[in-house]
């Protein structure tokens, strides 16, 4: 019924519009059917609107930065993340500069050269110097970015650690995460979905000695300032292990093992004490209280960032970065794979 009413209203609305436009066009018959030609007055109006839009657009951008700047991720919590953040802000600075130069020129020219019957456009078809200029300058700027970017990328993807990194496996399936810490020998036991059975949810090969001391957990503790080498597996579809606070991400691909490495630099506790984090947390806390939800405390999270099915939006694991002593304490409390089987 309601749909019929909506349809009827829409129909009548369209009929009304047709009549309005028709009246408009008939009444401008004095223009001899030229009412759709662009007049000098139109050019003035549209030119002015171009200028107004420029103010709205650039002003809006600045407003967003002021208003929403605080939602951005806090300081990177890993050595690698700090590197990408520096690169990010340099690149952002550069593209921001180009944005704030080119957009105003575009809208300013649109207004400045708005048409009029009395003007003649300048016949100006090409200029090799100008074209060389805006080929070479972007090329140089990009060359710099490419070199800087690739140096950072190679640093992150081919890490050379002074100390042996802690090996941790992240295991993805619809719709949760498990972590497997390599244990005393710091070596992961062989695993394959074909070994998944009962409590052995990660499919660790029970006969592999290296796997006996592995520790399977649903919440991952990491020691601060120690490099961690993550190995990723997935059981069913592609997932992506995304740890935004560490600026870390790698896909988890069924049938393959992928890897990514970073060194956490800030413990969860320290992060909670950072002023910008406290500010964001208290804001979120306020919002949540208003909705009758429980309070919010800052935590590092691992989320899934590759579409993986219905509950893709809720596939998470808590990561806690602690001091070395706290980490050793936590390790002691966990059961090894052999013990839990």
């Amino acid at each position: 019924m309601s749909i019929a009413i909506i349809a009827l209203v829409a129909f009548l609305g369209i009929v009304a519009l047709v009549q309005v436009v028709k009246v408009f066009e008939v009444s401008s018959d004095i223009n001899k059917g030229k009412e759709n030609d662009v007049t000098d007055k139109d050019n003035r109006t549209q030119g002015a609107l171009m200028l107004a839009f420029m103010v709205l657009f650039l002003g809006g951008f600045i407003w967003m930065m002021l208003e929403w700047g605080d939602v951005l991720l806090p300081k990177a919590a890993s050595i690698e993340g700090e590197k990408t953040d520096t690169l990010m802000w340099i690149s952002m600075g550069l593209i921001g500069f180009v944005f704030f130069v080119t957009q105003p020129i575009l809208f300013y020219f649109s207004w400045k050269y708005r048409g009029s019957k009395n003007r003649q456009a300048t016949y100006y078809a090409h200029n090799n110097r100008l074209e060389a200029l805006w080929t070479i300058v972007p090329a140089l700027a990009l060359a710099t970015l490419i070199i800087y970017g690739l140096t950072t990328w190679i640093d992150i993807m081919n890490p050379e650690h002074d100390e042996e990194p802690l090996v941790v496996e992240l295991y993805a399936r619809q719709f949760d995460w498990h972590a497997r810490v390599a244990g005393a020998d710091n070596k992961l036991g062989y695993a394959n979905v074909r070994f998944v059975e009962g409590a052995n949810v990660l499919g660790v090969d029970p006969s592999d000695e290296k796997g006996k001391d592995d520790i399977v957990v649903r919440e991952l503790y990491l020691p601060v300032n120690r490099p961690v080498l993550f190995k990723f597996r997935a059981q069913d579809v592609i997932h992506s292990a995304y740890m935004p606070h560490f600026r870390a991400q790698m896909n988890c691909v069924p049938g393959a093992i992928t890897q990514f490495s970073f060194t956490p630099t800030i413990t969860t506790e320290e992060m909670r004490q950072r002023p910008e984090v406290m500010e964001t947390v208290s804001e979120i806390d306020g919002i949540r209280k208003g909705m009758g939800e429980e309070g919010y405390e800052f935590d590092y999270v691992l989320l899934c960032n590759k579409i993986c099915g219905a509950a893709h939006y809720n596939m998470q694991m808590r990561i806690v970065v602690v001091t070395e002593e706290e980490y050793q304490q936590w390790l002691k409390e966990q059961k090894t794979f052999a013990e839990s089987m």
């Binding site: 519009l17 047709v18 028709k22 066009e25 759709n36 139109d42 050019n43 549209q46 809006g60 929403w68 939602v71 690169l87 990010m88 690149s91 593209i95 080119t102 575009l106 048409g115 003649q120 456009a121 300048t122 100006y124 078809a125 090409h126 074209e131 805006w134 080929t135 972007p138 990009l142 970015l145 490419i146 690739l150 190679i154 992150i156 619809q174 074909r194 990723f232 059981q235 579809v237 995304y242 870390a248 991400q249 790698m250 069924p254 049938g255 992928t258 979120i284 919002i287 949540r288 800052f298 999270v301 989320l303 960032n305 590759k306 579409i307 993986c308 893709h312 939006y313 809720n314 998470q316």
Partner: protein
Amino acid sequence: MAATAHVEAHDHDHHEEHHHHKETFITKYIFSQDHKMIAKQYLITGMVMGVIGMVMSVLFRLQLAWPEEGFPILEALLGKWAPDGVMDPNIYLALVTIHGTIMVFFVLTAGLSGTFSNLLIPLQIGARDMASGFLNMLSYWIFFLSSVVMVASLFVESGPAAAGWTVYPPLSALPQAVPGSGLGMTLWLVSMTLFIASSLLGSLNYIVTVLNLRTKGMTMTRLPLTIWAFLVTAILGVLSFPVLLSAALLLLFDRSMGTSFYLSDILVAGELLENSGGSPILFQHLFWFLGHPEVYIILLPALGITSEIISTNSRKPIFGYRAMIGSILGIAFLSFIVWGHHMFVTGMNPFLGSVFTFTTLLIAIPSAVKAFNYITTLWKGNIRFTPAMLFSIGLVSTFISGGLTGIILGDSALDINVHDTYFVVAHFHIVMGLSAIFGMFAGIYHWFPKMYGKRMNKTLGYVHFWLTFITAYGVFFPMHFLGLAGLPRRYYTNTAFPMFDNLTDINLFISIFAIVGAIAQGIFLFNFFYSLFRGRKTEQNPWKSNTLEWTTPVEHMHGNWPGAIPEVHRWPYDYSKPGKDGKGYAIPGQDFVPQTVPLLDNEEATEH
């Protein structure tokens, strides 16, 4: 070559004229082989698909702004997928999947390139029709069939495909993983297979036509930039779409014949699959080998259209004609060697990542050339703000804004943290979605008189542009902030993570702009159909344009020109060309010199 083609075409005319067989409704409007009618068929189909895609986006924006709240409209449209008006997570994924598929392929590939390549290639190069009218007709009808299959997939019991528009396996291969990977996904693959066949027929036709059927005097460097863009687009399509077909076929095999191209070591819904040895990453390589050129298949026609419209309405030659052609070719070439930037975090060898970063950032160079050339074309122009011109300027703006963030995403080190977040959504919607749809709107407003012999209403066009331009930026600009806050895309709701609770008002902001923007498209649809039926008759050359299509009569006719095909004597951009003494215009009182006008006494021969 052009000269011989001309002679043959000439013989052909006479032949044609003597065989004026009576056209029936079916041969004229349905199974038409006339390129102008086929263009209109593409346009209308594209618009219908566009409305479907847009309504879908409004539905999931409702969910994102007001998560898990009930809306009667959701229940009305989604039925069992929205009990009590609350959207189901599976249908959310299906909506984003089909929205993406429809917009990328059906609207911005077929709707944009299909419409304007068909309309403009014969008209602007001076040909009676496409090289093969029959193949052209076949191309449209296969596309139509493909659209029907895609729309039909919305109604199957288990829901339409829901693995994202990129349909990565194993998610897209396993019905156990998501219900949309059942019959819905099969139909998706069938539809895309038809689509690819249609695209190939169309593209081959465009290429042959541009290369062989140019009229006398129409050298390659006298072609309007629209034609260059369509030609290069068609070549991209021919080279890349077959690869998508192979990707789709292998996926079809994995789904129904038990092969393991993409599948290995899988345990899903408690069931251990026997597949072994396949690689899901293989699919991504094949997919993006099409997928990235596809971005330019979408964008280049829009850029070509814009070049033409900006020049015409600035009453100035396009700045750097040869540089524009060079940048089209440069972009096209590079588009084949950058696909890996979609895969930086798939576990691909980091060295490959380095190579793809290098090639990807290179694309910024020809793109920058284009942007600066557009701006310089405006400089010292005499700008006439038709709605088409407004959309073209809008395109330049979005092309710059969205292109710039590409420098972030193309950089593998930076991509790690923003990959698959809303930053990506913002980037590609602005640079590809908005730019291309603005190009399409510009094209429709500009060539509506050519297509339908009527003028579109100017005032409604203005209102449509400003509402669209403002709301479009209002929707996609804030998404950069969401992305930098670490918000992943394709999340049904963000409420599962308290850390995203402070993003609620940004999402609300976006959704409101999206809804207003969608309603604003009603103005366009109204204007389109009103003008179609009741609009003012147009004069022959309403924009005082140089190109050949405006030398044809307003009333459409088979063969385009009643007499001989006009001969071309100059490039298409002699706007405001001064007289010999540097004062006034080459043709006194007229600020344009059509391509058909031979070199005048009162002008310098110019090398462009």
